[in-house]
């Protein structure tokens, strides 16, 4: 097992990993930018190293600074968290070349799955259903038009190097396709350094359901069931739950098997997530695989009792999975509400600033993963997630009641948050009945 792990991330996920290290008796080193200098979670790590100024490109995205910090602190491994360098195969390669274990998949698997066009192709080869669309990347608007007309509008224009909801645009006709294609191409080139795009049929009444997998270095792959992330805004998830109100045991098994097959074919190791769309007839389609720990992983942890971060560290250290597929049992229902420093009444504008008062909820069935507190200042440089409120109860009905109670207890003063939006959703009949699709937030609450 590792004796010292560096955490190349910030905020709540850095704290989540510090906690796992502490529990496993592993020393932790957390790197930070000047913007995070006063954050309390730094004190909970065994060591902290300032790596640069606030802009991510000069701190959390700067490979040489992070690896240099890893070298001076003499760590065995680096946990990248999510976002930043988590799905950067080059970072994983640099770590390897410096004899530092990267806690995640190999650069080869990550590179293969990071290219969404290749991932789709792999799924098709394995006879896993994908949405109709481009067979290869669309090189220009002509090829995109061809693909769009073949599958029929509306279509999604997606960046091959994108993922996590970034670099996606919807087109309803030829004109919007061409316009959006050119804009998406420029955006993808700038954001992902890969301007390849592809076309995928857009399903209007769909649910976003993803399967969590774990794979060790000995060919053992298990899935831990699904998370339903249908409640989204602009492809950014707001509420996640497990089990999904629409997934039956047989659908879970089918989707789980598909995710396991894909992970095996990509020689995947560590924790990963296969994302699917499920249409209103219960048919599922593979969209992409995320080669990292997901923000919403606690939902799976609550229903399966598996500590995903701990498993990630164990797998990276060369240990075998301690359980098989038959040992995975799902208990009760879990939900997560993402608490973002955003103003839902003002176009979800990010709201950095000082949290004057923070009174977190508690009581039975409540878990809160957060790095913030009264007096904490949310820096403007990073994403707006300030906490994840997770509940777990025997049934969905009870879980919903606990979540409503917890949201009502939650006091945040000083910055607007998504808490009031969650309260409205939790009171909405369609959500209570489990009858939403991915357009729910936008159609009921406006864009």
């Amino acid at each position: 097992m590792f004796s010292k792990v560096l955490i190349a991330n910030r905020g709540e996920i850095a704290l989540r990993i510090i906690r796992a290290c502490r529990e496993m008796g592993i020393e932790s080193v957390v790197v930070y930018s000047e913007a995070d200098r006063n954050a309390h979670y730094l004190k909970l790590a065994d060591y902290s190293v300032c790596i640069g100024p606030p802009p991510p490109l000069q701190s959390y995205l700067d490979i040489s600074r992070i690896v240099s910090a890893a070298e001076i602190t003499d760590v065995d491994a680096i946990h990248p968290g999510y976002g930043f360098l988590a799905e950067n195969p080059h970072f994983a390669e640099v770590c390897e070349s410096c004899n530092i274990r990267f806690i995640g998949p190999s650069p080869e698997s990550s590179r293969l799955l990071g290219d969404k066009v290749q991932a789709r192709e792999l799924a098709r080869k394995l006879k896993i259903p994908t949405l109709p669309g481009s067979e290869a990347a669309a090189r220009d608007e002509k090829e995109a038009l061809e693909a769009a007309r073949r599958v029929g509008y509306p279509v999604m224009i997606k960046a091959a190097g994108g993922g996590g909801g970034r670099g996606m645009r919807l087109a309803h006709n030829d004109v919007s396709l061409v316009n959006n294609f050119l804009a998406a191409q420029a955006e993808a080139g700038a954001t992902f350094r890969n301007n390849a795009l592809y076309i995928e049929k857009y399903i209007e009444k769909a649910r976003h359901v993803e399967i969590q997998i774990l794979a060790d270095g000995y060919g053992n792959v298990v899935h831990l069931g699904e998370r339903d992330c249908t409640v989204q805004r602009r492809f950014q998830k707001l509420i996640e739950e497990s089990p999904s109100p629409v997934v039956t045991p047989s659908l879970r098994k089918e989707m789980g098997n598909a995710a396991v097959a894909l992970a095996r074919a990509a020689r995947y190791t560590n924790a990963g997530t296969c994302e699917f769309l499920v249409d209103d007839r219960g048919k599922f389609y593979f969209i992409e695989m995320n080669a990292r720990l997901q923000v919403e992983h606690p939902v799976t942890e609550m229903v399966t009792g598996v500590d995903l971060v701990r498993e990630q560290i164990r797998i990276a250290a060369g240990e075998r999975l301690s359980f098989g597929q038959r040992d995975v049992v799902w208990n009760g229902a879990a939900l997560e509400c993402r608490i973002n420093a955003e103003d839902p009444r003002n176009g979800f504008k990010p709201s950095p600033g000082r949290i004057a008062l923070w009174i977190p909820p508690g009581g039975p069935g409540v878990r809160l993963d957060t790095h913030v507190y009264s007096g904490y200042t949310i820096p403007p440089y990073y994403d707006s997630l300030i906490g994840k409120l997770i509940v777990h109860r025997k049934s969905r009905e009870e879980a919903l009641a606990v979540m409503k109670r917890a949201l009502a207890e939650f006091v945040v003063e000083g910055v607007p948050t998504t808490i009031p939006l969650h309260q409205v959703v939790l009171d909405h009949t369609q959500f209570i009945r489990g009858q939403v699709d991915t357009t729910f937030i936008e159609s009921y609450f406006g864009k």
Binding site: V29, V31, E34, L42, K43, L44, A45, D46, Y47, S48, V49, C50, I51, G52, P53, S64, R65, V67, S68, A69, E71, I72, T73, C98
Partner: protein, 147 residues
């Protein structure tokens, strides 16, 4: 709290090997932190490291000759070297005059030796980092009296 009190606290901190001191009174808050001679900073349990001289809480301040004392901070995270090779003369010593192009030290980051230049004209008054010490981004390396 006046200057004498601050000085007294600094002395007490040194005598008792305290690294940090925080005091709050009627909305005014003062936080004193002595430089540590090694990074990363261990948090718990707090191991008393080798002791550094107490530093003035304010930077820049007025030097003895009236020039502005500037704390020169590390632009990189890495390993600090005072000389180009272990057997070579240090780039600078206390009392040396420096010009903007003068190399002060090397910070090794990922096996790359990065020369760090003074970027100002002045005199080296203090060398805060030890040779081959690990340094953080922003860690004070030198005190330079700016001219």
């Amino acid at each position: 709290m006046d200057w004498d009190e601050v000085t007294r606290i600094l002395r007490l901190m040194e005598e008792n090997r305290l690294v940090e001191f925080e005091y709050e009174d009627g909305g005014r808050r003062i936080r004193l932190r002595r430089a540590e001679t090694h990074v990363p900073i261990p948090h718990a349990p707090a191991a008393p490291g080798p002791q550094a001289a107490p530093q003035s809480p304010a930077t820049p301040g007025a030097g003895p000759a009236g020039g502005e004392l500037v704390r020169f901070r590390s632009p990189l995270v890495g390993t600090f070297y005072r000389a180009a090779r272990p057997d070579a003369e240090p780039f600078v010593n206390v009392g040396d005059e420096v010009t903007p192009d003068k190399v002060l030290c090397i910070i090794e980051a990922m096996k790359v030796m990065n020369e760090v230049k003074a970027e100002m004209t002045g005199v080296v008054r203090e060398i805060l980092a030890k040779n081959s010490q690990a340094v953080e981004y922003g860690e004070p390396l030198f005190v330079i009296e700016k001219k």
